[in-house]
């Protein structure tokens, strides 16, 4: 259910770290809580963020939520397909629904393992 090879932020973003590149998205739990996404606001290539700072937002019919950078670094790619089809995030949050790629400036800190994140979600669900 929760992919083991990813790292997770308490604010429900995930990061796949491969060398100095991190692919980032929102989790299955996050997309379920939001419902059908209708709008995704992403940063631009070249923008830089500190881990934990706001880097964009997602909206559903009934809700809006900020997205926080799970890692520090520079945006090197954004998922342009989401502009017209934000529902991809609902359909495949850990795959086709990725949001951005970072060139990471420092080793990720304070991120959760899959097991730790699963525990967090279990608590949030109550």
């Amino acid at each position: 259910m929760i992919p083991k090879d990813l790292l997770y932020a308490k604010s429900h973003e995930w990061a796949l770290v491969e060398g100095d590149v991190a692919t980032v998205g929102i989790t299955q739990f996050a997309q379920e809580q939001l419902g059908d996404l209708t709008y995704v606001e992403l940063p631009e290539v070249g923008d830089t963020f500190e881990a934990g700072s706001e880097m964009g937002s997602v909206e559903s019919v009934k809700a809006a939520s900020e997205i926080y950078a799970p890692v520090s670094g520079e945006i090197i790619e954004v998922n342009a397909a989401l502009a017209d089809a934000p529902e991809i995030v609902n359909q495949d949050p850990y795959g086709e629904g990725w949001l951005v790629k970072f060139k990471i400036a420092a080793d990720p800190e304070d991120l959760l393992s899959a097991d730790e994140y699963e525990e967090l979600v279990a608590q949030d669900a109550h």
Binding site: D36, T38, Y39, V61
Partner: protein, 360 residues
């Protein structure tokens, strides 16, 4: 906080994976499969909505018409049996206490359908303005309301009841029976599509609900889709677009002020300080309730009352009250902090392909 009310379909919703939310004091399904899917299904096939939270009152007596004409804006002189009409309860200042549909059940009998959150307020208000001794009853607890909406709604209802409902025209209704008990079938709705509002005994609600769902054309839809469907039509929602601080004229509803009777609030019903205007946004990002509305110069002139992504249009739309002197402006900004959204004054309905008035 007091406990939420539950409709007779509550356990069905929970058992079928609905996401439940508090609405107007009730624990209601906001979605089943997903708001966008339910919205699209209603625009193309047919959906059932649990609307049991809304209120129904019954008024009867030889003087019922005259008495009710004092309290509602509906022209009851031209509302004969088997017809229903939209209008308002107004306070003395012309502010909207509620919007409601009045059904003429017989020359001496009416049914009023009101918003769930306003049942107690409306009942007390009307009661206090009726002559002593007139029969006036709140039948909300014993009355279920199921909405069947969508271009296939007539076919579905025909198959479910074994009767042909195609004769029923927009805003007309008929009394019939379901499972041996009375049912009112009304060709009305809150989606812009062909459809029916079905009123029956609350203990028969689940049987009718499940019967309608036996048709593969029908799926359940929640309040989330109901809200996007009604907003695309520019239909007002009480508590957001309508309230006691605004008159029907301010809400763009002067067309529903044709009663010749001297009803409460009549002298002020046409007062206009603000105007409810439709706004079309360029992109998918939605304006939300209470977002500030600005002129391009940055001058604040109003507030968004309802706003959402419009699934059938592919962009966001909104309704907003703006100061009357700026109501004819064509360009606005909706405040979103550093990144305001550009909005253009639109026309209603936003969505023009609705089947509600189609001739069958």
């Amino acid at each position: 906080m007091s406990e939420l009310f539950k409709t007779p379909l509550h356990s069905w919703h929970v058992g079928h994976g609905a996401r439940m939310v508090p609405f107007a004091g009730w624990d209601m399904p906001v979605q089943y499969a997903g708001i966008l899917e339910e919205h699209q299904h209603t625009r193309t096939k047919a959906s059932v909505f649990d609307i049991c939270h809304m209120g129904e009152f019954k008024l009867r007596g030889a003087k019922a018409r005259d008495a009710l004409s004092r309290v509602v804006t509906h022209n009851l002189d031209t509302l004969g049996p088997r017809r229903c009409r939209y209008g308002f309860l107004l306070n003395e200042q012309g502010g909207i206490i509620d919007d409601c549909i009045v059904y003429c059940m017989a020359d001496d009998e009416y049914m009023l359908v009101v918003n769930g959150a306003r049942i107690d307020t409306d009942y007390a208000w009307i009661k206090s303005h009726l002559p002593e001794g007139m029969f006036f009853e709140n039948i909300s607890d014993m009355t279920a309301k199921i909405d069947l909406q969508g271009p296939e709604a007539c076919r579905v209802l025909n198959e479910a009841t074994g009767e042909d409902w195609s004769f029923l025209t927009y805003f007309s209704f008929k009394r019939t029976e379901f499972d041996g008990d009375p049912m009112v079938v009304s060709r009305t709705g809150y989606t812009g599509e062909l459809g029916y509002e079905l009123y029956l005994r609350e203990d028969k609600a689940q049987a009718l609900w499940e019967l309608l769902l036996q048709n593969p054309l029908v799926r359940p839809a929640g309040l989330g889709a109901r809200d996007t469907l009604r907003l695309e039509m520019g239909m007002a929602l009480y508590g957001q677009d309508l309230d006691e601080k605004h008159t029907p004229a301010e809400a763009g509803m002067s067309v529903f002020l044709k009663s010749p009777a001297d009803h409460i609030g009549k002298a002020r019903a046409f007062d206009v300080r603000e105007s409810l205007i439709p706004l079309v946004l360029e992109g998918r990002r939605a304006a939300r309730h209470d977002d500030p509305v600005l002129l391009p110069s940055g001058e604040p002139v109003g507030r968004v009352t309802s706003g959402s992504f419009a699934p059938s249009l592919g962009h966001a739309v909104a309704l907003a009250y703006v100061q009357a002197e700026h109501a004819e402006a064509t360009q606005f900004l909706v405040g979103k902090g550093a990144k305001p959204l550009a909005a253009t004054r639109g026309t209603l309905p936003f969505y023009t392909q609705g089947t509600a008035r189609v001739k069958l």
